[in-house]
Symmetry: C2
Amino acid sequence: MMKPINVGLCGVGVVGGGTAVVLKRNAEEIARRAGRPIVITMAANRNLDRACELCGPDVKLTDNALDVVNNPDIDIVVELIGGTTIAKEVVLKAIENGKHVVTANKKLIAEYGNEIFAKAQEKGVMVAFEAAVAGGIPIIKALREGLTANKIEWVAGIINGTSNFILTEMRDKGAAFADVLKEAQRLGYAEADPTFDIEGHDAAHKLTIMSAIAFGIPVQFDKAYLEGISKLEAQDIRYAQELGYRIKLLGITRRKEAGIELRVHPTLIPAKRLIANVDGVMNAVLVKGDAVGATLYYGAGAGAEPTASSVIADLVDITRLATADPENRVPHLAFQPSKMANLPILPIDEVETCYYLRMNATDKPGVLAEITRIFADANISIDSMLQKPAPDDRADIIILTHLAVEKNVNTALTKIEALEAINGKVVKLRLEHLQ
Amino acid sequence: MMKPINVGLCGVGVVGGGTAVVLKRNAEEIARRAGRPIVITMAANRNLDRACELCGPDVKLTDNALDVVNNPDIDIVVELIGGTTIAKEVVLKAIENGKHVVTANKKLIAEYGNEIFAKAQEKGVMVAFEAAVAGGIPIIKALREGLTANKIEWVAGIINGTSNFILTEMRDKGAAFADVLKEAQRLGYAEADPTFDIEGHDAAHKLTIMSAIAFGIPVQFDKAYLEGISKLEAQDIRYAQELGYRIKLLGITRRKEAGIELRVHPTLIPAKRLIANVDGVMNAVLVKGDAVGATLYYGAGAGAEPTASSVIADLVDITRLATADPENRVPHLAFQPSKMANLPILPIDEVETCYYLRMNATDKPGVLAEITRIFADANISIDSMLQKPAPDDRADIIILTHLAVEKNVNTALTKIEALEAINGKVVKLRLEHLQ
């Protein structure tokens, strides 16, 4: 057996604790695979008691992560601090010191990945981040290595467990968003401040990373379109179901001729698709490649041990790849740094997708004719329509469109909302067939 | 851009043709990922016209695969001949000549993998076989690299598209096996001689390979238990559905204390599991790891371009890994050759699973008491029971058991079949909860 790989663990929280526990519990199994033991020899945490309890008495402890990074005996630094202040400093310093890095920090990679990878490239070290996207699902590896033969057409993922749990409960119980959110908070599936999860930030971080790897573009989180689930109404979930669809918070990135779509929003998807049946806190990512067709990857998107599973897979990968010529290693963003594409990220106005539109109208002759005329004028063709009685002798009209450009839809909706027979705003949700 | 990798393609059939087409169509995309062009420079095929048409005029052609293997300019040999005669000779000779090998040949790997990998190890070359299991799904990579942190508990897969298509049609149309088989043959989803697919051989080859990688054991195809779908009756699919289950031809390999279960057979699985909703010719593999929990991988299990997707991913992998120290590369069967386990494959008699048992009984008092007594004596506990009227004033009794050892079930069934009130044989199907 070759000499052990010495790991320095920065951050012994949920995932850090899980990493320490799994590395110890499966030490033999992991060494049999990696060809050598992989051992945490030093750890940094604000709470040293917790670190000691989880890492054991043989691990050197510090409350300063930079001590880990500056320790010459450490081969790989694992950054599980989170955020983009200390974490960023730790990662950059580790790279500067010639150490390989493993991180689960989606925010750091989605927002500062370009800078980090450039520095890693310069120093000839690897920065691995499987745990940053979809927890325990090896989706980075699939995209970056498993599907290298393909021109990727699009990636669509349920990549935020909190939102998926809430949507599943809303559907199953017909409950309102606010009530289910409270339940999710009680169960520990949602934070006290749930904004980051329910408004799509978390999903957009993960999507940004997948988009870069799928298409060979730099990470560009600031250009992602975000729309959360907090305004979603129970009746739209019900209508969608009647029409044969389910609503999921989907992250979608698609290659178009003019550029890349990068967007997170509630999305109707056909109920018969496998991904429509991914419920509760589970995650799944659907990838469409030109050669392989659609492939799907499903599993736990969060949690101590599932995320640790990805952190440790990265440790094994680095152990295996460390001796390869740096220019032959797997590139950070799948494509060689000199071969990145400069396709622009398309603004949401330019996105082309299908739409679910719900409007409340006075139930009188001619209204439908006015509405359909507006759509025809905006070059939007209608796929199907559903009319339902609503309170006060009015009607809910639900229209599903074929592919249409967002700005055309918005123009049409402005005109529809100006009609005398229309009550209030039109509810607009996007719809993807995912085929 | 570095010097191209020269690929020698042996066999330009369906997958070989797909490989040539995709390598050409996505040449730029692939080179951007791999860091250098990957080009077929020589091809062997019995039909030289077809080879020329698919590979183009710049590719050197031969009708003798050994010419490819002996060409010093070839870096990687792709074996897509199939079978275990010429294909085996080609692979072993390529290894002997110090060339890396990519193959889609599940039969060759499942039956001769140990010999092939030992020789590759000795010569310091890689033999990659992602395309041998589940077509375009990167399941070998997931098991071997993505889940290295885990003690794998079990792997269960729908890994034969022909059988899954037949079972899906039988369920949807309530049709008999023989009729659906004819339909599948007409559509090209089943061969003229369908034995290999419908009797479980193909699935068992793939399962054998996954089992070796999951548990770090040598490939042992001869010890796999095989039971196909040709005897499955439409009424059992119907009863299963009534009880909340679907019947799939499942390959299952599970680690038990005494050894490894390795079996392919029709299996009831809860309808609400994602894998129960994998229909038609699609494949999916569910993997249970101790840290990550259950993860699922879904996609096209066959076809020219999906399989080519895996062949080419292996080519890129070898290109990337070729310069790593041989002892640091990803081991062929996930675990270091010196660290393989010698857990035995358990005979089917020792397998522990749940059962669906259907018996036809005279509808008279006391019969159920006799039956349940026999189960109790054999230490088999009953999970649920369904009684349905059958022709001639008789009844179909369906019993689902909790976990039981196969030999105990067989003993009980022999006794039940000997009862005067029981008509004919008891139908026995296995049931897995997959949790």
